[in-house]
Symmetry: C2
Subunit: 129 residues, 2 copies
DNA sequence: GTAATATTTCGATATATGGCGAATTATCGA
DNA sequence: TCGATAATTCGCCATATATCGAAATATTAC
């Protein structure tokens, strides 16, 4: 019951659900998800921690980046079932379609172009001194 | 997506999930659920409103009592699927077993004995004057 | 080694949530 | 009609949550 409630709370937030759905067919690094959701990196990081603790996703460090991907068969039943259900239910949503489209575009551009954009204002300020 | 998030939030609370599961095989009046959950009537009422607005349950007035039961095929897909999944997932939980046992006992006693118990302290105070 | 980048942690804030008791509404029974 | 009962609504409080920006940590690049 604790696991179940934990899992339900984790996906009962629109942005976290969007993350889970975005990770359906691929793993993504944090900065890619920041670009997708258009939220502060710290916010996305916290969302990822919630999904992680609930057992939905897991991190994998690759150099400077941290990629997150869905947990496979090792995940608790509750998580596996809920993930499958979300895939079915949310695929009909407009938001999901938008995100998938946007993701496809983001994945075409190089990560060097992608990441760092959300520090652009700060970098610009510094370099202009 | 809105419907889905709404539904997820509704059942992502242990007491509301307990209510939904208690309504699996029967309809219950509010005072019966108050007895089951051992929460203040106002609290239970609020939980019921949340489940109602999310589309999981519906009210039916019968004289002095208001019975709640699960919504049937009219319920949105999200709600139907989630309800079915909760039935499967939560049936393994200790809390659910406890509740079902307790419910069986509560349903044996007459409702007149059951309801009013949680006003007992107040009634006792008044009658002792 | 220093600067830039990627991510997390920390601290703050605003809002949402779950709980209660008191007051309100509606219905039943004597 | 009046008192008791069932349920909801309202007002309050404590805690949880979502968000941000700043600071800390780690890694790569020059």
């Amino acid at each position: 019951m604790r696991t179940l409630i934990h899992a339900l709370k984790a996906i009962a937030d629109p942005n976290r659900l969007r993350i889970l759905l975005a990770l359906r067919d691929r793993s993504l690094c944090v900065c890619q998800m920041v670009a997708l959701l258009e939220l502060a990196p710290s916010t996305v990081s916290k969302h990822l921690a919630v999904l992680d603790h609930a057992g939905f996703i897991q991190a994998q460090k690759e150099g400077r980046w941290i990629f997150y991907r869905r947990v496979g068969r090792e995940a608790p039943v509750e998580v596996r079932r809920l993930t499958a259900l979300m895939d079915r239910l949310a695929s009909a949503s407009l938001q999901t379609a938008k995100d998938q489209k946007r993701l496809a575009k983001l994945l075409q551009s190089k990560r060097e172009d992608l990441c760092g954009r959300y520090y652009a204002s700060k970098a610009a300020t510094v370099s202009s001194l």
